[in-house]
């Protein structure tokens, strides 16, 4: 019997709870949630604005999830983690003891110190449900919205509110949209599609100064707006871990079993650095599937089970106004590229050392998971006709024997 | 209507038998009275008896009982017999006039010995010689019918109820150690004297109650071996089968029983290896002689009786004992007439032969 503590109440926390409970049904689990909500699907906050979901359906797990898993949920912000005494102190001074802890604090928006930012009345970040609810209150039919940041968060926000506001302008210092996952060619396809839906872009340019309802751009251009959304980037929330003495880099440093450098302290999700098997480097893989898997892995190990993660890869499935984009893995400079293009779609495979290092598919993403599995499992594609594979992912690339196991066995 | 031999005639029946294991004499009234309580099992279209040990004075001679429809037929037949046999004695079989028994043919018996010169020239033993001669008369001599041909035994049969047939033949005047009796209930014959039972060949006789469904399979097979089923009755074919198996092939009674009422394959497969091998062999080799459909038979020969039911026991038959006597009958009532204090009443299982032998030297 142990007392488990989970700091954070997001996807990684759920993974951790389910991981613990897959091994240990007895011990107590306490979750400290900084947000005043039952666990919800964070990426759905833009869909909420779009009307594709609602607060009830956004619940990441059913309403009785905590009860069923015998979890004690405490709302409050963890302020201090004393690893020697095995206690956490909340902002309201409440102290909670534990035997093992998992830090699932996620990330928080990075807000640069813009000049005149405090003169902007309606300014929002777009990270949490509360952010989304606050933004929703500000929206009007005629609102001019300026979104700073053309990354995933900024663009999903744009899509979410597109039908509810007058105009949307998205600016970004980068010369293309989704610069972290797309090259310029692919980004151009996405951008043009977004533009067809009324989103205006100012790329390679960004706000440097604000004056109430006007943003002054680096280029000197001025942009009028009613609502400002700052989606410049996020930072791993590592302060508690640092306090507890864990090694922290861009995120909390963990091993393949989600163990930090301090005993009995685990970390998972966006706050941590996972091993990106596609590049072989430690990095923050701030995507939901990884958060869950890391959380679950941490949970299993905390409860005395055995689990390790060595095949995490960056990947994204993102779509805007019906145009989907699926990416995974890495795009090494020296990779051989197999490409299939049409006006509104691009399929590109990056092959290195007879393995699929990564891919980008824009348009028809059907069965892209087959590509993903090749990246994740580092399957040799030496004997595969890549010119066929690039057109369509298919299990045909495998031998009959392999297919027999995949389709005729329990997997 | 067609007679036996012109058409196949199945029939229901009553059977009874008695034997003294000590070979003591039993007069015929015992058995014909036993048929009285089973009156309703017959319909007056045939009754008959086989008696063993009744001709001790002619023990070494074949006793032929023959029906003739005309005096001229008798002359013709006697001429044939004389060519092949030494006729030691020929006489009318004594009968008494009864209102219940009418239209009787001319009934004679002959005590004969095969001419040894012919046995040598035809290269057969005397039994085979007699069998062939009987077959010859019965198939080619219209109006003559040999209905008994064994040594020291005789069949007596007629159209009528068996109890009347016994009186008709004055069976109370014969003394034998073993008797079988039959009352017939044929379903599609006007009744013909030769068609009554028992059926016999040499000293084998069969009384049978039942209607076998394997008839034509059995008949067409057995006819390959020189038998001619002129009567087209079950009894006839069963007699020939037993003659073939026992006399010609040399099977034991038990072996013959496990041919004609073979155990089911499932039973055979459950037997010890040696037994299984033997039963499989018999069923395989003589598969066409398996008799299916209901039958209860009493097979008689010089020195014994065998009672046997079909393997599903689709006909009633019981056995009983008292002192040195063994009784067999379709119904217990018949046994009680013969021996009110009969013991060990037993209903043999389907396919289970009950074999009674007279002590060696006592017949």
């Amino acid at each position: 019997m142990s007392d488990y503590l989970i700091i954070g109440n997001g996807t990684a926390a759920v993974g951790c709870i389910e991981g613990i409970r897959s091994v240990d049904n007895e011990s107590s689990i306490t979750v400290v949630s900084a947000e005043n909500h039952h666990v919800y699907s964070r990426p759905l906050i833009s869909y909420y604005l779009e009307g594709k979901t609602d607060l009830e359906r956004m619940l990441y797990r059913p309403a009785d999830f905590y009860e069923k898993n015998n979890v004690r949920l405490i709302y409050g912000k963890a302020a201090k983690l004393d690893i020697r005494k095995r206690t956490v102190t909340l902002a309201d001074k409440h102290k909670q003891a534990f035997d093992k802890v998992c830090i699932c604090t996620g990330s928080s928006p990075f807000v640069p110190q813009f000049e005149g930012l405090d003169t902007v009345k309606k300014r929002f970040t777009f990270m949490t449900l509360d952010d989304s609810l606050a933004l929703e209150k500000a929206l009007t039919k005629d609102s001019r919205v300026l979104i700073v940041g053309a990354g995933l968060i900024g663009l999903k926000c744009a899509e979410g509110i597109a039908e509810r506001v007058g105009s949307i302008t998205v600016c970004d210092l980068a010369d293309r949209v989704l610069s972290s996952i797309l090259d310029s060619e692919c980004a151009a396809v996405m951008q043009s599609h977004l533009e067809k839906h009324g989103i205006r872009f100012m790329l390679g340019d960004t706000a440097v100064r604000f004056d109430k309802n006007t943003a002054v751009m680096k280029s000197g251009a001025k942009v009028g707006f009613d609502i400002l959304v700052l989606a410049v980037g996020v930072r791993a929330e590592t302060s508690l871990a640092a306090q507890a003495g864990c090694e922290v880099d861009r995120g909390i440093v963990i091993d393949s079993e989600m163990q930090t450098t301090v005993a009995d302290v685990y970390a998972a999700g966006d706050c941590s650095e996972g091993f990106d098997s596609s590049t072989g480097t430690q990095r923050v893989l701030a995507i939901l599937p990884n958060a869950y898997m890391q959380g679950r892995c941490a949970g299993v190990n905390m409860a005395g089970g055995s689990s390790s993660l060595s095949d995490l890869i960056p990947m994204n499935s993102i779509g805007f106004f019906g145009l989907h984009c699926a990416t995974a893995g890495a795009y090494p400079e020296d990779a051989q590229v197999y490409e299939e293009k049409s006006a509104d779609s691009i399929r590109r495979l990056y092959v290195r050392n007879d393995k699929l290092a990564g891919f980008i598919v824009i348009g028809d993403v059907s069965r892209a998971g087959i590509y993903t599995s090749l990246v994740r499992e580092k399957t040799s594609v030496e004997d595969v006709d890549l010119n066929e594979l690039k057109k369509e992912p298919s299990l045909a690339i495998f031998s009959s024997e392999v297919r027999r196991k995949k389709l005729g066995g329990v997997v | 209507m067609k007679l036996e031999g012109e058409v196949r005639i199945p029939s229901g029946c009553a059977i009874a038998a008695v034997i003294s294991k000590d070979g003591k004499g039993i007069t015929g009234d015992l058995i014909y009275n036993a048929m009285k309580p089973m009156h309703d099992r017959s319909n007056g279209l045939g009754g008959g008896f086989a008696a063993y040990g009744i001709y001790p004075e002619y023990k070494e001679l074949f006793a032929f009982h023959i029906f003739f429809d005309h005096r001229s037929t008798r002359k013709e037949c006697e001429a044939f017999l004389k060519e092949r046999f030494e006729i030691v004695k020929g006489e009318l079989i004594p009968t008494r006039k009864l209102p219940q028994i009418t239209d009787e043919p001319i009934i004679w018996r002959y005590f004969v010995r095969p001419l040894s010169s012919l046995l040598i020239s035809e290269q057969v033993d005397e039994n085979e010689f007699v069998a062939r001669s009987v077959m010859k008369i019965n198939t080619s001599m219209k109006g003559a019918y040999v209905f008994s041909s064994g040594k020291n035994m005789g069949c007596f049969k007629a159209v009528g109820y068996p109890e009347d047939v016994g009186v008709f033949y004055k069976l109370e005047e014969y003394e034998g150690y073993s008797w079988t009796a039959h009352g017939r209930y044929p379903t599609n014959t006007p009744g013909w004297w030769g068609g009554a039972h028992p059926f016999s060949l040499l000293d084998s006789s069969v009384v049978h109650n039942g209607e076998i469904s394997s008839y034509d399979a059995n008949r067409r097979f057995i006819e390959m071996f020189g038998y001619k089923c002129t009567l087209q009755t079950d009894t006839e074919v069963i007699t020939y089968i037993l003659d073939h198996l026992i006399r010609r092939q040399g099977l034991t009674l038990e072996e013959a029983a496990s041919v004609i009422a073979a155990p089911f394959w499932s039973t055979i497969n459950g037997k010890p290896e040696k037994e299984k091998e033997k039963l499989t062999y018999l069923r395989t080799v003589f598969s066409s002689l398996l008799i299916t459909g209901p039958f209860s038979i009493v097979y008689g020969w010089n020195g014994g009786l065998m009672a046997l039911n079909d393997r599903l026991k689709l006909r009633s038959m019981i056995t009983a004992e008292k002192d040195d006597r063994v009784f067999i009958a379709s119904e217990e009532a018949a046994v009680r007439v013969m021996e009110p204090d009969a013991e060990n009443i037993y209903a043999p299982a389907g396919g289970e032969p009950v074999i009674v032998r007279v002590k060696e030297g006592n017949y």
Binding site: - | P10, T187, S213, S214, D216, Q249, F264, T284, S288, L290
Partner: protein
């Protein structure tokens, strides 16, 4: 050259209201009848290619298809039928012998259908097969004339080799080459499960099927394809094929295009070479030659296997059978004129041979008349279509029957009778891998097992009705049969009485 004067025989009727254009018909037709017209957005058909195999009809999920005989007819003529005229056109087009497949389809009398079976009433009880044992096991082979005993008086139980069958039915010869690997696999597996035998035909035994040897009859035909020591040793029995009911008096010809891969290897002939079975065995020009081959095969198999001699039912079959019964053969198989074939000249198939019912009756009687019925077992084939046919055949005197067409039907054959094209849409009479795979032996064997089990039930019911509880009591039991609508001569040959007699 254009096929002059020949109007398509069938029409593809597609219910446009039901067709969902799923294109299953298109994918399943090896004759390429159906195709989807992208311009019109509908399915269209080239009926000239249709052989009415019903594959498309069977698989159409909305039952939108049916194939009907075209009613486009030449002017009526009682002497010159449509088919006769069209055959003339075909021959005028090609200059060749007409080829056909499967059995004689002409309206000759089917004697099975003129024979009725008896049942017990009152005097003899019917037997309920659900309550009482009902035995269908048979042993095929020579039975000894006399028993023998050892010095202790014990029966010597050793007898000539016997073929034990759980029921009196075997799958008759169909060669690997004429039918597919999967069809053979289905037959072999079903025979094994059923405790009966299938027959390799003359194409040899594929190495994969040696495991089914105890339920395999291997054939030695005039071409001697695939015959070698292991082949003979693998089998439960060896069959010398002297003739075939569908084409008595002629041999066989499997074109070189079909002699590929496994088939070439199994037949032991070079790839691409025509497999020609001569009309006679060139080492058997008379009965005494047959005896030599019978004993050669017995020697080769150490007298452990029964030898079957298969002949076509021809006019003097009784005398031929009598000769074979004295040749040392253990089993005679007689194939009637309705027996199937993978390919035969139409004129031969439709005009040569005699009905199996008459052949069987006369052979069985002849062998009994000669007292040699016990020398051999009789197996008959050539359109045994149902359990009733089986019962009638046994009652006429057969020990067992051979079925092939019924087995093919069970596996999916729809009797389109174009086996010779090699494009069997049901995966049976073809070697095209994409078509062969259409017959999954799991299904094929199960359907064969089902069919035989169904027949076995029916045979038992019919036997029980007759008051017979073992099949051997039915064998030759002609009293159980009556004819209807037959002439006195036919009744005489069949050895049965007319109904009502």
């Amino acid at each position: 050259m254009q096929e002059h004067y020949i109007y398509p025989e069938f029409e593809v009727m597609r219910n446009k209201d039901r067709c969902i254009a799923c294109r299953v018909c298109e994918r399943q037709c090896a004759n390429e009848v159906h195709r989807f017209d992208t311009e019109l957005g509908v399915m269209i058909a080239d009926e000239a290619r249709c052989v009415n195999c019903q594959r498309c009809v069977s698989l159409c999920p909305t039952h939108a298809l049916k194939i009907v005989k075209s009613d486009c007819r030449l002017r009526e003529n009682a002497n010159w039928s449509d088919s006769t005229i069209k055959e003339i056109y075909k021959q005028a087009n090609s200059g060749g012998v007409l080829l056909s497949s499967m059995g004689n389809p002409k309206p000759f009398p089917v004697y099975w259908d003129k024979i009725l079976i008896n049942a017990s009433q009152v005097t003899n009880p019917p037997i309920d097969p659900l309550r009482e044992p009902m035995e269908t096991k048979v042993f095929l082979g020579k039975k000894p004339d006399d028993i023998r005993r050892d010095e202790n008086g014990e029966l010597i139980t050793e007898i000539s080799p016997q073929l034990e069958l759980s029921m009196p039915v075997m799958f008759s010869a169909m060669s690997y080459g004429s039918i597919s690997y999967n069809a053979h696999a289905s037959l072999a597996r079903a025979a094994t499960e059923l405790g009966i035998c299938y027959n390799t035909g003359e194409g040899g035994l594929h190495e994969d099927f040696y495991v089914y040897g105890p339920n395999t009859v291997v054939q030695v035909a005039s071409g001697r394809f695939g015959v070698h020591k292991n082949y003979l040793e693998a089998a439960a029995a060896v069959e010398i094929k002297m003739g075939q009911g569908a084409k008595p008096g002629i041999g066989g010809h499997l074109p070189g295009t079909k002699i590929v891969g496994d088939i070439s290897r199994t037949r032991m002939i070079p790839e691409g070479s025509d497999a020609i079975s001569p009309a006679p065995h060139h080492d058997i020009y008379s009965i005494e030659d047959l005896r030599q081959l019978v004993f050669s095969l017995k020697e080769a198999t150490e007298y452990k296997k029964p030898i079957i001699v298969k002949v076509a039912a021809v006019h003097n079959i009784a005398a031929i059978a009598s000769g074979i019964a004295r040749s040392g053969a253990d089993i005679i198989a007689i194939d009637g004129f309705r027996g199937g074939t993978g390919a035969a000249p139409t004129r031969i198939r439709d005009n040569v041979g005699i009905p199996i019912e008459l052949a069987l009756a006369s052979v069985d009687q002849r062998l009994r008349d000669e007292g040699i019925r016990n020398n051999v077992s009789l197996v008959v084939g050539g359109s045994v279509r149902s359990a009733a046919d089986v019962v009638k055949a046994i009652a006429l005197g057969a020990d067992a029957v051979y079925v092939a067409t019924a087995a093919l039907l069970a596996m999916g054959c729809h009797l389109c009778r174009t086996c010779q094209s090699g494009k069997c849409n049901w995966g049976i009479a073809t070697q095209r891998p994409d078509l062969v795979k259409r017959l999954n032996p799991d299904i094929g064997s199960q359907r064969l097992v089902n069919l035989m089990n169904a027949w076995r039930h029916e045979i038992k019911e019919l036997m029980g009705g007759m008051g017979i509880n073992s099949i051997e009591s039915l064998r030759g039991n002609r009293l159980m049969l009556r004819g209807v609508g037959l002439t006195a001569k036919e009744l005489e040959i069949l050895g049965i009485s007319h109904a009502g007699e």
